[in-house]
């Protein structure tokens, strides 16, 4: 490779880099946090040593709804991923396992700063189980009462949060 080829390659690389940096579709317009809880009326320790007790706030929220009311709640995993303006993203709350995945993508903005409709897909055991277009807003999660596991049910919580300060 002579010097001229090297310069051409460098120019092409810089062009690609600059176009990627200018892509407004990559703007972060929010953060999506996905948390998986194990809810059971049986043995709280069935979720294993790795699981930790859900916070008091979460317990209050979940137990406040009759359909989600269980005796014990354990947090199994959590993942927070940026919501891009144009691109989809995936949350993997139990990495590296892909047993539970949540795909999300911005769809429309319903009000000035509060609500945003997202395309959401819940994937369980590598199968798309649910697709919805819920209107998400900060502080108001989407709770999915999911599959059974070890004598209880898994609850998948997806919540839209604000943009981190460093990305604003």
């Amino acid at each position: 490779m002579n010097r001229r080829d090297l310069i051409c390659l460098l120019l092409l690389a810089s062009c690609g880099l600059s176009s990627a940096q200018l892509d407004p579709g990559k703007d972060v317009i929010g953060m999506v946090t996905v948390t998986v809880y194990h809810a059971t009326n049986g043995d709280a320790g069935a979720a294993g040593q790795r699981a930790k007790a859900a916070s008091e706030e979460v317990v209050k929220r979940l137990a406040g709804e009759q359909k989600l009311k269980f005796a014990h709640y354990r947090e199994l995993g959590k993942d927070t991923k940026p919501l891009f303006r144009s691109y989809e993203n995936w949350a993997q709350p139990l990495p590296p396992s892909d047993e539970i995945l949540l795909r999300f993508e911005a769809q429309s903005k319903l009000s000035k700063e509060k609500r945003r409709r997202l395309d959401i897909e819940l994937w369980l055991s590598r199968k798309k189980i649910l697709k919805t277009d819920a209107a998400m807003e900060s502080g108001k999660p989407l709770l999915v009462l999911g599959p059974e596991w070890r004598g209880g049910r898994l609850i998948i919580s997806a919540e839209l949060g604000p943009i981190p300060l460093k990305d604003q």
């Binding site: 891009f84 993203n89 649910l130 209107a135 059974e148």
Partner: protein, 202 residues
């Protein structure tokens, strides 16, 4: 023979405006027309009422002022058309006809005034009016639910008690109890790494 007077003549007759000959002719016709006689009587009464309440002639208000203005304008125009100052007079043209000189300044002054008003308008900031944000009256429509897997049903409802949106899945295959939560599953608060095949913008 049709002796009925035309409408114009009748109107003048009602107002007592006809000459003597025509008046006599219409009077002869109207002698058998009580309706028209009554109409003329009403008109006469109205006239007498108006005469009693209104002066015969009234001077317009500020007549002297208007007359003086009119006289001055006539004088000015006459001076412009035929200047009376003889040639070689020491009086300058501006003194002779000041209005003529100003006539050239007036458009420029008007334009300058308009420009000034426009500029002043751009400088004036209207007082800020605080309008309360409209309360969202329309509730958020129920999201569309799609469950591609056969036998899986999803039920959505908004839970006020949990302050959340809830979807209850029924018919989902259970996750095997043998599944162990990986040790690497994060239960902390920090965001994880992006799994999308694009870079997170900094």
């Amino acid at each position: 023979m049709n002796t009925t007077p035309d409408e114009e003549r009748l109107a003048l007759w009602v107002e007592d405006e006809l000459d003597a000959t025509s008046q006599a002719a219409v009077d002869a016709w109207a002698a058998t027309q009580p309706e028209w006689l009554e109409r003329r009587e009403v008109a006469r009464q109205m006239k007498s009422i108006l005469r009693g309440s209104l002066p015969a002639a009234e001077e317009p208000p500020y007549a002297e002022f208007f007359n003086a203005r009119i006289a001055r304008e006539i004088q000015r125009e006459a001076a412009e058309v035929a200047p009376v100052t003889p040639a070689g007079s020491p009086v300058s043209p501006m003194v002779r006809a000041p209005g003529k000189t100003w006539r050239w300044f007036l458009p420029a002054t008007a334009v300058a005034g308009m420009a000034l008003c426009f500029w002043a308008g751009t400088r004036i900031t209207p007082p800020s009016v605080t309008v309360a944000a409209p309360t969202p009256l329309v509730p958020v429509p129920t999201p569309v639910l799609y469950t591609p897997e056969q036998g899986v049903k999803a039920d959505y409802f908004a839970s006020a008690s949990a302050d959340a949106m809830v979807i209850v899945l029924d018919g989902v295959a259970a996750i095997p109890d043998s599944f162990e939560v990986p040790d690497t599953a994060s239960t902390g608060g920090g965001p994880g790494a992006t799994t999308a095949d694009i870079e997170t913008p900094r």
